[in-house]
Point group: C2
Chain length 411, copies 2
């Protein structure tokens, strides 16, 4: 089986057809979860799955599946997939590539007529991007979606209700699947970052998906007249916020290599040229690959913020804004990815995923792992781009990993 | 005349009466320029001036004058005053004290029956605070107000037109007064800062009113995914802005003692927790007491901003937002203030005014100077406060300075 390869033309033709759904005319797609364009893409997928001779079904969360019954009766399934929804005005590779690659792997194995130790399923998860909730389908399948998650959805309750009505979804939490039916989960995705290209590697093997913490921070000082108040008599909230941003950045770069932080929002009040800022509100987000490191990073960042507040005689308010636990990928799956890269003579490297993906939810219920291929043009915009050869390489790694793991059935 | 003193009870009673116009119930006043409350205060002033036996008149800018004809026919006038308008929800001392003190000085000198070498006039200038235009009345009198100043007023064209209609003002530029009729200008004001209190000085003799420069700055980088983009691969506009704020602050404190800067506004775009800021817009204002120092400061600040942009691989846009030239006070007037403080045994100190005042406009047409008395509770808010004894001291310094200068007539 070492010489087996996916059919790149078939896969890329499918990707191109899929790109027509919600096409924005500039290479991108607009397929927010459960929008008309997203649901149209799913109708297309359903037809493709059935034409491929796969057993098509959906679950209570709207997740779409195509099953190749290549294992013994009652065996679990190795799932391979990603998602067809996009961010608003996003790119055509994010998510869609993982679904068409999963389909391609199943078609390739179907054509061999092989009997394996488990079944294979290609899966298209609902609302990975969070237009509505975020990882809605994969968390529902993993039994991690709660009614509370649906009460204050990111996209608003009305949009969620509208989407559910369009898709015929009533209670997505009912999609929780018996873990005994899950042999594992594999996902192919574009990197959405520059590391593979910089390292000239064809495949990135994800060691873990980062945990994410976030705070709304507010420094409070005094709104003095900026002309009559000497520099040393001020309580300048803006200066405190600026100092924190600089110090936190330097600290993370020096003491937390690989981790990232971001201050994405800033507002000074009262907000006049000639008034020293009384309040400086900034948003802090930080990501690290392990819970220990995430905790240490949070402690350090809040310590620096408190020290900075003290230096400038400011009050500091810290409001947690939600967090995501780090998700380590399965060592067995990682080893199988690495072996496949060796079989295919592809240079691979281990890396941490700085973004969330459906794999994040799946790690809690079965051995799960994901690979990245190089991409350019940034992320979540119409310019995102992956070379056809890289897409092909990624799908072939999925293929040989699936063959290895499905031959075992339980890993 | 060394023993002559103003009548503190009369002056403070006037100040208390004036505080009723636009009283906000918390010790402050709301008397925006040419509002109903401001115009009511002016009606009160008019009655006071006439009751004091002064010759009342107004000019084309709505400035109010009360004249004591104590000099020879055809002599110029030494003006003493300030303004009755306040910032919205401001304090009861800012401006009003200078007007009632001017009136008190004229009443005191009137009672002596002295003949002097020039006349005396108490003046209440229109719109010092800039609710409409800023230094409107004093610049008009000094011939420095242009039609262009009235085309895009700070407070908007509609508010200006409404105010002019209420006050019966049609063309304030016609208020330009023959400089030969101006012997000089004196102003008493609260400090609006902590320096006199810190130095335990009773009187601050203003050496110059600062010049002010301002820029809207925009750093532009790239809006990357804050999870997938490593720290060293970013072009983080927010980090550039933060670094500039910190560096500029440190530079001014170390290299420009006495000068001040302020970053009063900040906005990061696109403004999401998980997106590296593409644009960071901040406002910069800086003040220094001489044109040379103001120019050097501007050059240094823009150099630091450019350096910072280069370090973080950002573009920098700099949009000038208007400037005010520094206004040195008359050495003759300053000497007369100092001599008066000595006569009255009051500790004085030289200081720079970090804020603009009507004196700023008057320095361009006649020998002008101003003094500060200690104040607490900040500035431009209902808590601003000056002790009665300090108000009395300030008025007595005005009195003896006026006696000295008006005895010369031309200085």
């Amino acid at each position: 089986m070492t010489d087996l390869r996916i059919n790149p033309d078939r896969m890329l033709r499918n990707l191109a057809q899929l790109s027509e759904f919600g096409a924005t005319g500039d290479g991108g797609v607009h397929r927010p979860a459960l929008s008309e364009t997203h649901l149209a893409a799913r109708v297309w997928l359903c037809a493709k799955l059935e034409a491929a001779g796969l057993e098509f079904f959906t679950d209570a969360a709207g997740n779409h599946f195509g099953r190749l019954a290549c294992g013994p009766d009652g065996a679990a399934s190795l799932l391979i997939g990603s998602h067809l929804d996009s961010v608003p005005h996003g790119g055509r590779f994010d998510g869609a590539l993982g679904v068409v690659a999963g389909l391609e792997v199943l078609e390739t194995i179907r054509d061999t007529g092989l009997d394996l130790a488990c079944h294979l399923e290609v899966v298209d998860f609902t609302d990975e991007e969070g237009t509505l909730v975020g990882l809605l389908g994969s968390r529902a399948l993993a039994g991690a979606l709660t009614p509370a998650d649906l009460e204050n959805p990111r996209g608003g309750r009305e949009a969620l209700a509208d989407g559910f009505a369009r898709a015929g979804i009533t209670d997505p939490t009912a999609a929780a699947r018996d873990p005994n039916t899950l042999a594992g989960y594999l996902e192919l995705h574009i990197e959405q970052g520059p590391r593979l290209t910089a390292a000239q590697a064809a495949i990135g093997i994800v060691t873990a998906l980062v945990g994410i913490g976030s705070f709304a921070l507010a420094f409070r000082g005094r709104a003095d007249h900026a002309g009559t108040t000497p520099m040393d008599a001020r309580r300048d909230a803006g200066l405190g916020a600026a100092q924190l941003m600089v110090r936190a950045h330097d600290h993370v770069v020096s003491d937390y290599p690989g981790a990232v932080i971001n201050f994405g929002q800033a507002e000074f009040l009262p907000g006049a040229y000639n008034i020293v800022p009384e309040t400086a509100s900034i948003s802090l987000e930080y990501r690290a690959e392990s819970q220990d490191r995430l905790n240490a990073l949070e402690r350090d960042l809040l310590d620096i913020a408190q020290e900075t507040a003290a230096i400038f005689n400011l009050q500091l308010e810290t409001h947690p804004q939600g967090c995501v636990a780090p998700a380590p990928c399965s060592p067995v799956v990682r080893s199988a990815f690495a072996a496949a890269c060796e079989t295919l003579d592809l240079k691979s490297m281990d890396l941490v995923s700085g973004a969330g993906h459906d794999t994040q939810a799946m790690t809690s219920v079965c051995p799960a792992g994901m690979i990245f291929i190089p991409s350019a043009g940034g992320s979540h915009n119409p310019d995102e781009f992956a070379e056809s050869e890289d897409c092909e390489n990624g799908a072939n790694v999925l293929l040989h990993t699936a063959l290895t793991l499905a031959a075992k059935g339980d890993f």
